[in-house]
């Protein structure tokens, strides 16, 4: 028997990891140099959540999938051009600041309010998905806070796998210390799942899915609400790039025997 699920994926947009980042001070706090022109991608761990959500929704007919994303509208639109070709979803955009420095509690408050107001969402069927940590703030708190605000007390972080059973319960694997997974059985939705890498590769671009998605994405972006974020007493006294650039010794003319001997010494040294 299939379970009807209402999956909401929270996913932000982040600078492409191959870009060079330089912090600057802006009138509203720390930011990145040229932040608005840096190429952006969907936050990688949240993207895993999106692909897992789509796979789960397609296995359970009648299920629904929303993608809630807060970021500058123009940037969201750019990123959606690619993301929309991956899997089918309904975009719920929120026009707001980009980057890792705004307070996570404010972001969570706005996301929770938006999710609570989603037309057609059955909170009893809700699986709240996202990345367990973002590639910007990397705090691992936003999803948890959204869950608390929505009254969800079955929460899992660092999730790599979920196996849904016929009765709606599921087994979930969470990353814990020492390269292991903690295995839990949850009675079913509502629950929060902060995803790590999961098991699915990035889906190929499918222009048909893209076209279908874009029909709803463009009007949604046009109507995107502006989100104001409070600072909640958060202030920064310094924001800087790490100083230590190492002086690398590049060794080109040693034999394998010589290198091995040097490494043995290095490994043994305190």
């Amino acid at each position: 028997m299939a379970n009807v699920l209402h999956i909401v994926v929270c996913a932000g947009i982040v600078p492409d990891p191959l870009q060079t980042l330089e912090p600057i001070t802006t009138p509203t706090g720390p930011g990145l140099k040229n932040e608005m022109v840096l190429p952006a991608v969907l936050d990688p761990w949240a993207a895993s959540a999106l692909y897992e959500a789509a796979a789960l929704a397609s296995k359970n007919p009648g299920s629904k999938l929303w993608l809630v994303s807060l970021g500058p509208k123009a940037k969201l639109q750019q990123v959606m051009m690619t993301v929309a070709q991956k899997v089918a979803f309904e975009l719920v955009p929120l026009d707001g600041p980009i980057g890792g420095f705004p307070d996570a509690h404010s972001t969570a408050a706005v996301l929770a309010e938006t999710i609570a107001a989603l037309p057609g969402l059955d909170r009893e069927k809700l699986l709240l998905f996202g990345g367990w940590e973002s590639a910007t703030r990397g705090a691992g708190v936003t999803l948890q806070l959204v869950g608390e605000r929505l009254g969800i007390t079955d929460q899992f972080q660092g999730v790599d796998q979920i196996d849904l059973r016929d009765d709606g319960s599921f087994e979930v694997l969470e990353r814990v210390e020492g390269g292991k997974h903690q295995v839990s059985i949850c009675a079913g939705a509502p629950a929060v799942l902060g995803w790590a890498t999961g098991n699915l590769a990035e889906p190929r671009n499918n222009p048909q899915v893209g076209m279908a998605n874009m029909r709803t994405i463009m009007p949604a972006l046009a109507k995107a609400k502006v989100a104001k974020l409070e600072a909640n007493g958060l202030s920064y006294s310094s924001v800087s790039l790490p100083k230590q650039q190492r002086t690398t010794r590049v060794v080109k003319d040693m034999t394998p025997d010589q290198i091995a001997a040097e490494l043995v010494e290095w490994i043994g040294a305190e």
């Binding site: 990891p17 191959l18 980042l21 990688p44 761990w45 890792g100 910007t136 703030r137 990397g138 705090a139 691992g140 708190v141 936003t142 948890q144 806070l145 608390e148 007390t153 079955d154 929460q155 899992f156 972080q157 790599d160 969470e174 990353r175 020492g178 390269g179 292991k180 997974h181 903690q182 295995v183 839990s184 059985i185 949850c186 890498t197 098991n199 590769a201 909640n232 007493g233 958060l234 202030s235 920064y236 006294s237 310094s238 924001v239 800087s240 790039l241 790490p242 650039q245 190492r246 690398t248 590049v250 060794v251 080109k252 040693m254 290198i259 091995a260 490494l263 043995v264 290095w266 490994i267």
Partner: protein, 342 residues
């Protein structure tokens, strides 16, 4: 005036505090003495009284929550326990170890108390106020921040403070009762993602990282994957190193299966992987691209073996780069290490 609570929890035995918890205790003692603030330690454990026996010489007030429900790490029970401890302590600053167990609940608990949380804290500084250091953009940008709002929860990264090692003995604890909500989740145990020996060892002195080069065609036109696997496992056997991987290497097998069967995404270091702490790291057959190297932020001494004299490691990212074929080097290295053992 600030008042400080350190939240701690037991390890799998249920009756001893985790190493990361004892590190948080050290941070709490330091901070309390710096700010002349009262210190409370809260313990969540199946058997909190026994777990508390490592703490009497801390001089802190000890609050404890015990019971079978707290033998397992689960959001509903842990959040209720931590909330009860926080309410009993009425602290303005709550320090907790950034373990998977507390990372799962800290933000939720902070919210219940009307407070705020910052995580992955690597250092606490400041004399009359509290400043916390943490990294943004996956270890690329370091910031020092503070909060005016209270209570303020700070989750400390493991390995950033010394482990508290006071004289053990019987401890005076105050038992705190907690009303649990209906529990809908049962923890059934732990599962290792691969067959065979555990390769991720957070306490190892050295991290060994394998890159995609190990499975690529070598100068003789062939790939030598089986040999690569043996060399890698040979090194781990000889040194008890922890095994890391580049993303390219773990991705190769596609959906869950690596070409090297002992590697999974849990081994992955970097932007979308782990950022472990080890005194030394040896990178092999890996190009040292930025999304990979951000995962090396907390590795002390770094060496790399790569065929490419222009690889990322040579540009200020490693201390020493050996431009060489890793196959013969590792074969020789393993032989020397094994010979030294006997």
């Amino acid at each position: 005036m600030e008042s400080i609570l350190v939240l701690t929890h037991a390890d799998e035995s249920g009756s001893a505090l985790t190493k990361a918890s004892l590190e948080a205790v050290t941070a709490g003692i330091d901070l309390a003495s710096r700010l002349s603030a009262p210190l409370t330690i809260g313990i969540i454990a199946a058997d909190a009284a026994t777990a508390a026996s490592s703490l009497p010489s801390s001089g802190a007030r000890l609050l404890a929550i015990s019971g079978e429900a707290f033998a397992q790490a689960r959001y509903a029970s842990d959040a209720a326990a931590a909330e009860a401890l926080c309410r009993a302590a009425s602290a303005t600053i709550v320090l907790a170890p950034g373990t998977s167990r507390f990372a799962r609940i800290a933000a939720g608990v902070a919210h219940r108390l009307g407070g705020f949380v910052d995580t992955h804290i690597t250092a606490l500084s400041g004399t009359d106020n509290i400043e916390a250091s943490r990294w943004f953009y996956r270890q690329r940008i370091e910031a020092v921040l503070s909060r005016g709002a209270r209570p303020w929860f700070l989750l400390l990264d493991a390995g950033t403070h010394a482990t508290y090692a006071g004289e053990p003995g019987p401890a005076q604890i105050e038992n705190i009762s907690v009303e649990l909500p209906a529990l809908r989740t049962t923890v059934s145990g732990f599962r290792a993602p691969t067959q065979g020996a555990q390769t991720i060892r957070p306490d190892a002195k050295i991290l060994f990282v394998a890159g995609a080069g190990w499975t690529k065609k070598q100068p003789d036109g062939q790939a030598h994957v089986a040999e690569a696997g043996e060399l890698i496992l040979g090194f781990l056997h000889a040194t008890s190193a922890s095994l890391g991987s580049s993303k390219s290497l773990v991705d190769q097998g596609g959906e869950g299966n690596s070409v090297l069967p002992f590697l999974t995404h849990l081994n992955q270091i970097g932007q979308t992987g782990a950022t472990p702490r080890h005194a030394k790291g040896l990178s092999t057959c890996c190009h040292g691209e930025e999304p990979h190297v951000v995962g090396w932020r907390f590795i002390g001494s770094r060496r790399a073996i790569s065929l490419d004299p222009n690889c990322g490691w040579t540009r200020g990212k490693a201390d020493v780069v050996y431009v060489a074929d890793a196959f013969p080097v590792m074969a020789k290295l393993n032989a020397l290490l094994e010979a030294a053992k006997t």
